[in-house]
Each structure stands twice: as structure tokens, then as C-alpha cells.
């Protein structure tokens, strides 16, 4: 072996040594549990595919799957719309105000989802501040059933996911050269045309990242729907929890987990055509 080759081999050995501890944790804490679940999902006493067949054929489970997808879609679209509007407003604010609003956007990321959801339980209550506010404005006569119902879950989830929508959209918008917008306006384009033909295409990647992130996270959401939702708002993650803790049916729990994982991977795979996967980490 020549000197260059020896140096290369040495370099690879050092790299492997440095990577080993973290890789061991990922292997034990991430890869092994997923393999265990995959094996469990085929271990139903009624046959290897019985658990998957049950998930696909029993009506209740199909409703849960539909609930999960509808909820994820509604929540993602709402987060994206609000996130885009606020990002546009952020761009136009003076630096001082922008910093304050931006701090408000990222603060919730530090605070436990459980605490935020608990807060919403108190706000959305039948006699809670939101219902009293709506009644005081004369918008409603009777308190709305917000808590333990779809609106409550949707509001709570949008609130949790909003930062994940705003950060990539705002990042994309702030990369746009303001001269382009001035040029478009200067050449006689209306504000709507500038928005549609300049702003929107140039922020497309940010929007795609935001859409991927919010949809991906809302598919697997557990804490917020479990605490804010009613019996008819069961999502796939709550179903998995009940398979494990109430029905003690491991094959079914594992098969549902594999299904959810496959859905998440499908979203990433689909998004990967438009968004480089590394962009997902920009948000963290």
C-alpha cells in the first residue's frame, strides 16, 4: 500500500471510530425498534398478513384513516394560508417590529406541545374565554362545542404547526431580490400580477417545504388530537395507542404503525421530487 492509500485508510478508520457511538444509539433506539415492529406486524396468530387485512377491511379503521387524512389536509392548508399571509406581512414590517413578531412565531417551538395543548383545553372550554368572547361579540347565542370536537383539534394543531409553515416560507421570501418586485411594478404590473407571476413562483420551494412539513407532522400527531378531540376525531396515532394499551393487540398495533410510517415515507418521497430532503432540516 502506498503512502496516499495508507492515509486514506487511516482517515476512513478515524471517521468510523468517531461515528460509532452515535450510530450505536441510532441502531438501538431507531432502527431496532422499527425492525421489531415490522416483525411484530406479520406475527398475527391468524396468519402473516392478517393484521394488515383487518386494518384494510374493518370499517371503523377505514374511517380512522380517512379522519387522519382529512384532518392533516385541513390543518396543512390552513397553516400554509395563514403562514404565507404572515410571512408577507413580516417582509413589509420595519426591522424592529419584524424582530418582535418573529420572536412570537418561534417562541412556541421551545414550549412543550403538551403544555400548549393543555392551554387550548382551557381556552376552548364550553365556558372558556373563546366562547365568552364570541358570545360578547354577539356572534353566537349558545357556546360552541369546540373542545372534544373537530374544530378544537384543528385549531390546536394549526397553532402548533404554524411555526413550521412560517419558517420555510419566510426564508424563501427573504431570499427574493426586492429589485425584482420593484422592476415588476415599475414595468406596469399590478400588485396582483406581481404576486402571481413573481412572488408566488419564487417562493414555491418554501411553500413546498412548508406543505411537506405540516402534512408530515400532522399525519403522525398524537398529543393534540388525543387531548382536544372527541370520540369521532380518532386519528391513526390514537388508534395505535389504543391497540397497545387497551386491546393489547401487538400485531395490529405494529401493522398500523407500519402503515403510518409508510404514509410518512410516501409524503417524503413525493416531496423529494420538489424539495431536497435536506431542506426539511433547515426548519429544525
Amino acid at each position: 500500500m502506498n503512502a496516499a492509500g495508507r492515509q486514506r485508510a487511516m482517515r476512513v478508520a478515524v471517521a468510523a471510530l468517531l461515528l460509532t457511538p452515535a450510530m450505536a444509539i441510532i441502531a438501538l433506539g431507531f432502527v431496532a425498534p422499527l425492525i421489531r415492529l415490522a416483525i411484530l406486524s406479520f406475527s398475527s396468530p391468524a396468519g402473516p398478513l392478517a393484521a394488515y387485512r383487518e386494518l384494510a377491511t374493518v370499517d371503523v379503521y377505514r374511517v380512522v384513516l380517512r379522519n387522519t387524512l382529512v384532518l392533516a389536509l385541513v390543518v396543512s392548508v390552513a397553516s400554509l394560508a395563514i403562514g404565507f399571509a404572515l410571512s408577507l406581512a413580516l417582509m413589509r414590517l420595519e426591522a424592529g417590529w419584524r424582530a418582535i413578531v418573529f420572536a412570537c412565531v418561534v417562541l412556541p417551538l421551545w414550549i412543550s406541545v403538551l403544555v400548549r395543548t393543555f392551554s387550548w383545553m382551557l381556552i376552548l372550554e364550553r365556558n372558556g374565554p373563546l366562547n365568552r368572547f364570541l358570545a360578547a361579540l354577539g356572534i353566537v347565542d349558545q357556546p360552541l362545542p369546540l373542545l372534544f370536537a373537530f374544530p378544537g383539534v384543528a385549531i390546536g394543531m394549526v397553532h402548533v404547526l404554524l411555526p413550521y409553515a412560517i419558517l420555510p416560507i419566510y426564508a424563501a421570501l427573504s431570499r427574493i431580490d426586492p429589485a425584482l418586485l420593484r422592476a415588476s411594478g415599475g414595468l406596469g404590473a399590478s400588485r396582483v400580477t406581481t404576486f402571481r407571476r413573481v412572488l408566488l413562483p419564487l417562493s414555491a420551494r418554501g411553500l413546498a417545504t412548508a406543505a411537506t412539513f405540516t402534512f408530515l407532522l400532522s399525519l403522525g400527531f398524537f398529543v393534540t388530537p388525543a387531548l382536544l378531540g372527541g370520540p369521532s376525531d380518532t386519528t391513526i396515532s390514537m388508534l395505535i395507542d389504543s391497540f397497545v394499551n387497551e386491546r393489547l393487540d401487538w400485531p395490529l398495533a405494529a401493522a398500523a404503525s407500519m402503515t403510518l410510517l409508510a404514509m410518512a415515507l410516501a409524503v417524503i418521497g413525493l416531496a423529494g421530487r420538489f424539495v431536497p430532503v435536506s431542506a426539511l432540516s433547515e426548519v429544525g
Binding site: P21, I26, V31, L37, L107, W110, P129, G284
Partner: protein, 258 residues
């Protein structure tokens, strides 16, 4: 872009309030006099803080949370920093592959991770053990540490380390005097994030806690699902205070690097 008009300002302010107020709404209730939770509280008192700190199970939950968070922070920063330095030495293809593996826990649904870890921990007898929960939280925090340190490692000029070893410094001395000072902000930032991630985490903790290692979020989760008193609001407020301290420290660290 045209500067913001009054409407835009009002819209931004309203939305910012709608984002922040619900996060902090629980805090006033920790100082409520009543024994039920209703916003806004009618009378003020600190008696629920006395109840919280007079209850051994809440204290133990708080201490368990701090212990698990500190251990996962330590473990993820050491292994994550080592991994980030290792990734730098790989070829581009291997590096992309390894980075992808590290990012896995970020994109997998947390309930799937929780159930998988629970299944594995049951067969290994690790349910209700501190080490099981610490490993799980370390796995969850690793991507953030690797990314954070990775950013500072990428900004490192390799010629500096080369010069140091050329001048006769041992590899350990090169690390200590050249590499470490420049990646320290990344390590601190990643470490703070790892601590807060573990301290805030509830789903993995609920599945792995067993009866013996209940963290603060696990206790809150159990209370909230049955019947809740303002003690829960005190516990939630303690979590908010810790998170705000964490975010302030995080800002301080990143400002120093910028």
C-alpha cells in the same frame, strides 16, 4: 416591497398575539385561588405552588425530568459532536447516507417510535428504567446536535488543524486548542436544544415511563386525561419557565457566533 400600512401592522400584531397568548394562557392559572381551572382566575394566590412543592410525587417527577434531560443532553452532545467530526471525514456519498440515517428520527412519526421502543424495551426489561428513557431521548435529540455541530464544523478551516499538527501538537491537543473552541457554540446550541427536547417530550416518555420513571410531562399527561386541578397549571408553568430560559440561552449562544 412596499412598507407595511396600518392594516398589515394590525394583522401581524393580531396574529402574533394569537400565537403567543394561547401558549402563555396557562400561566395565570398557576396563581389562581380557586380549586378548578377557569380563565381568567377570579382571585389570586400562590397556594397551588405550595401544593406542588409539598407533594413528593410532583417533586420526584420534576427531578426525574431534570435528570433524564441532563443525561440525554450530555450523551447526545458527546456522541453527536463525535459523529459530526466523523461525517466531515467521509466521502460525499457516504456522508449523505449517514446523514440521512441521523435525520431518520426527525421524520418518523413519534407514535411509531414510541410503540417500537416500547416493544423493544419490554423484551429487554428496560420499561421504567432511566437508561431506556435517556437512550430514547438521546436518539430524538441526536439529529439536532449533529446538524448544529455540523454547521460549525463546516465553517472550520482544515488548514488550522493541519498547521497545529505540523507544529508538533498531538491529535488531542489539536482538538482541544483548535477544533473545540470553534465548534463550542454549535455544541452549546445543540446541547440546549437537546435538553429542552428531552424536558418537553411526552409521547416516548409515556410509553417508556412505567410506574417508576415518571417525568413531569408524564405526570401532567396523566392528570390532564382524568381530572385536573391548578397544580397541573403550576407544573405547566414550570415547564414554560424552563423553556423560556432555554430559548434565551439559545439566543445568547447563537448571537455570540454571529
Amino acid at each position: 416591497m412596499t412598507p407595511a400600512g396600518a392594516w398589515t401592522k394590525a394583522f401581524a400584531a393580531l396574529l402574533a398575539a394569537a400565537i403567543v397568548i394561547p401558549v402563555l394562557a396557562v400561566a395565570p392559572l398557576a396563581f389562581s385561588e380557586q380549586s378548578f381551572l377557569q380563565l381568567p382566575p377570579q382571585d389570586w394566590s400562590v397556594r397551588w405552588w405550595g401544593v406542588f412543592f409539598g407533594d413528593a410525587s410532583w417533586i420526584r417527577a420534576l427531578l426525574t425530568s431534570l435528570e433524564v434531560a441532563a443525561l440525554s443532553c450530555l450523551l447526545s452532545v458527546t456522541t453527536g459532536t463525535s459523529a459530526a467530526l466523523g461525517l466531515l471525514r467521509l466521502g460525499p456519498r457516504m456522508r449523505a447516507l449517514a446523514t440521512g440515517l441521523f435525520l431518520g428520527p426527525m421524520v418518523a412519526p413519534v407514535i411509531v417510535l414510541a410503540v417500537g421502543l416500547y416493544a423493544l424495551a419490554r423484551s429487554l426489561g428496560l420499561v421504567g428504567s432511566t437508561i431506556g428513557l435517556v437512550l430514547a431521548h438521546t436518539m430524538l435529540a441526536l439529529p439536532y446536535v449533529v446538524l448544529n455541530v455540523g454547521v460549525s464544523v463546516a465553517g472550520l478551516d482544515p488548514r488550522l488543524a493541519l498547521a497545529a499538527s505540523g507544529l508538533g501538537a498531538s491529535p488531542w491537543r489539536v482538538f482541544r486548542t483548535v477544533t473545540l473552541p470553534s465548534i463550542l457554540p454549535g455544541m452549546l446550541g445543540g446541547g440546549i436544544f437537546a435538553f429542552v427536547t428531552s424536558f418537553d417530550e411526552v409521547v416516548l416518555a409515556v410509553f417508556l415511563a412505567g410506574p417508576s420513571v415518571k417525568t413531569l410531562p408524564v405526570r401532567i399527561w396523566e392528570e390532564v386525561r382524568v381530572e385536573y386541578t391548578p397544580v397541573v397549571a403550576v407544573a405547566a408553568t414550570i415547564m414554560i419557565i424552563l423553556a423560556v430560559i432555554g430559548s434565551a440561552m439559545g439566543r445568547l449562544v447563537t448571537r455570540r457566533t454571529a
